[in-house]
Amino acid sequence: MRLDRWLGPCVALLALGWLWLSFTYIPAARVEGEPGPRAFPIVLGATLLGLGVLISIGAWWRSPRKMPAVAVKAISSREAFIVGGIFSLLMLYAYVMEKLGFLIATPMAILLAMSGLLGMREWRFMLIFASSVTAVCWVFFVKLLEAPLPRGLWLM
């Protein structure tokens, strides 16, 4: 299926959702003559809706031969694993960094990325790499830039 055939309706749906949120949660202008905080979001929602409709019309009305060859490959299991893995890793890294601190979270995240996502098994190299990166970051942030890094809520 051509990408535009589902992209157009998705964009239009997103715009409708945005418009509903804007009308529901953003108050209208309080001063006469001033557009107010709601006006701009509504203009944006309407513009996005227009663009979604435009893509849909182009995709469904034009003959397949005249359509631009913008196709999207289906997500493979490997891609889903890597994308999901990196996103989960980022979330886990942030969570552990808040609870256990930078010095525990960083080597953990590096080792997880290397072993879990890259499939590396050279443990000695990985341990040296993880501890070196952590040490360099600690020196750079804490000592050179004097930027505080999380020490861990559970450990404090």
Partner: protein, 490 residues
């Protein structure tokens, strides 16, 4: 004179020089590795500038920008793969020269041309900036709104395949900007009671996520699939002879002019300038048949032009606050972060800071000359670091960088979400640069529009009463119209 002395004392401190050197080397490194962009390097470096004072912080960012633009030529010549899109035209003759065993001459010529182009555009920038700013200082909310709208129309240039997709990306960026407290009314918009969201989607956090995470995902996906880059072992840059320089001097001047001019037009950027300059060099060459087979002018022309873009893009950025490409959008973020509001007032309030930036750019080119001429062998060795290990380091830098912005774990989560969004947008061929542009310019666009209407008591005639505003609306319409025509033809 006092201002100039202040600028020199700010730009020539040990911290500022160190920051320029570090930034330039990082820029060269990111620019030369295909797949790593210097926009990403800029976004990653921004949080590191937090604890720095103004001049060193901006010197670091400018170093990354200038170094990144130049670095692309290294892999273009040695590997035949441009490190940045701006270096794509350098491949045509740079790589054939390397294959003929003239890699050193090509690298040397590229660095001299880059330095010449960069410094030429700096001089033009110094001459023009204050003139443009002097005109812009008379602008009111209506004119600024029209100007920012024109700035947003540069999305057309960043739209890559389709104007519609570029516009969708721009609107998404503007929507992200909406989230948070409304500056004029103090109303929370779409925060759903989340305290952290009241400050809005932080621009820097969004940029780190949007630029860096998709790249990390791509590198992880390519791990084990793509052959690692084979970099020649014995590489030494050699300076072109005086005769060669004399022969190509006027070509460099013309190409520097092309680059500066193109750079000053928002939404164009290095690749266009480089290809135009390459085409110009071929057309006016006495040996057009030699192009594509290792002609020195084929390296000099694009490298002069793409580096001349750096000064050109600074003209609308510093005088009007309009970033011309993703990299200058990040630099705009850096300027704002360090208390410099780009625009006409900048030259009245922070003139010494502007002069200090000029000095930092000159210094960055000196560093480029030193690193690429004498340090190229060390540099090439550094390029051999496997990309997947770099990607792991980038993950750590993304997390620490986004945390350091406001010491907030929430920002790290937000960065992850932005990264995922960036990847999926890329996946469905929606460009990321317009999202960033929307985020950067959105607030000014909305605030100036509303302020203009408050001043006119709700009458939209205020936008038509100003000749400057009408002119900018016309240019915006023309830009969109031309892009639409080109899209329809495709």
């Amino acid at each position: 004179m006092d201002t100039l002395a202040q600028a020199f004392s700010a730009a020539l401190t040990l911290q500022a020089i160190g920051a320029t050197v570090l930034g330039t080397v990082i820029g060269l490194f990111f620019g030369s590795i295909p797949g790593l962009t210097f926009s990403m390097a800029l976004a990653l470096m921004l949080p590191f500038t937090f604890s720095m004072s103004q001049t060193p912080a901006l010197a670091l960012l400018l170093g990354v920008y200038v170094g990144g633009m130049t670095g692309g030529s290294v892999s273009a010549i040695l590997l035949g793969i441009p490190g940045t899109p701006s270096a794509a035209a350098t491949v045509f003759d740079g790589h054939p020269m390397a294959q003929k065993g003239e890699a050193g001459v090509a690298l040397g010529a590229a660095v001299i041309a880059s330095t010449f182009g960069g410094l030429f555009s700096l001089v033009v920038m110094m001459l023009l900036l204050e003139q443009v700013a002097a005109v812009a200082i008379k602008f009111g909310p209506a004119e600024i709104f029209a100007l920012v709208l024109f700035g947003l129309s540069t999305i057309c240039g960043m739209a890559e395949r389709s104007l519609t997709r570029g516009l969708i990306a721009g609107v998404l960026g503007l929507m992200l900007m909406i989230i948070g407290l409304d500056e004029l009314d103090g109303v929370a918009r779409l925060t759903f009671g989340t305290v952290q969201l009241q400050q809005g989607v932080n621009l820097l956090v969004a940029m780190i996520g949007l630029f860096a995470i998709p790249q990390v995902i791509t590198t992880f996906l390519n791990h084990g699939r793509v052959k690692s880059l084979e970099i020649p072992s014995d590489v030494r840059a050699s300076l072109p002879s005086l005769r060669q320089l004399k022969e190509h001097f006027w070509l460099m001047v013309r190409c520097a002019g092309i680059g500066t001019g193109i750079g000053a037009i928002p939404g164009t950027g290095g690749p266009i300038a480089a290809f135009l300059a390459y085409d110009h060099a071929r057309r006016f060459s006495k040996r057009p048949g030699g192009f594509g087979k290792g002609e020195l002018a084929g390296v000099i022309a694009p490298e002069t032009a793409n580096n001349a873009v750096t000064g050109g893009t600074m003209i609308p950025l510093l005088s009007l606050g309009i970033p011309g490409d993703p990299a200058t959008a990040v630099i705009l973020g850096g300027l704002l972060l360090h208390g410099l509001q780009p625009g006409p007032m900048l030259f009245r309030t922070h003139l010494s800071a502007i002069y200090a930036l000029y000095i930092a750019i000159v210094l960055a080119y000196v560093v480029i000359l030193v690193v690429q001429i004498w340090g190229i062998r060390v540099f090439v060795r550094v390029l051999r670091v496997p990309p997947h290990l770099l990607a792991v380091c980038i993950i750590v830098m993304c997390v620490l960088g986004s945390y350091a912005i406001r010491n907030s774990i929430f920002d790290v989560y937000l960065m992850g979400v932005m990264g995922l969004l960036g990847y999926f947008l890329q996946r469905i061929h929606i460009p990321i640069a317009p999202v960033v542009l929307g985020l950067v310019l959105g607030e000014t666009l909305e605030n100036q529009y509303r302020t203009a209407l408050i001043l006119s008591e709700g009458s939209h005639a205020i936008f038509m009463d100003s000749g400057v505003a009408v002119l900018f609306f016309a240019i915006t319409a023309l830009t969109l119209g031309l892009q639409l025509r080109s899209s329809l033809r495709k």
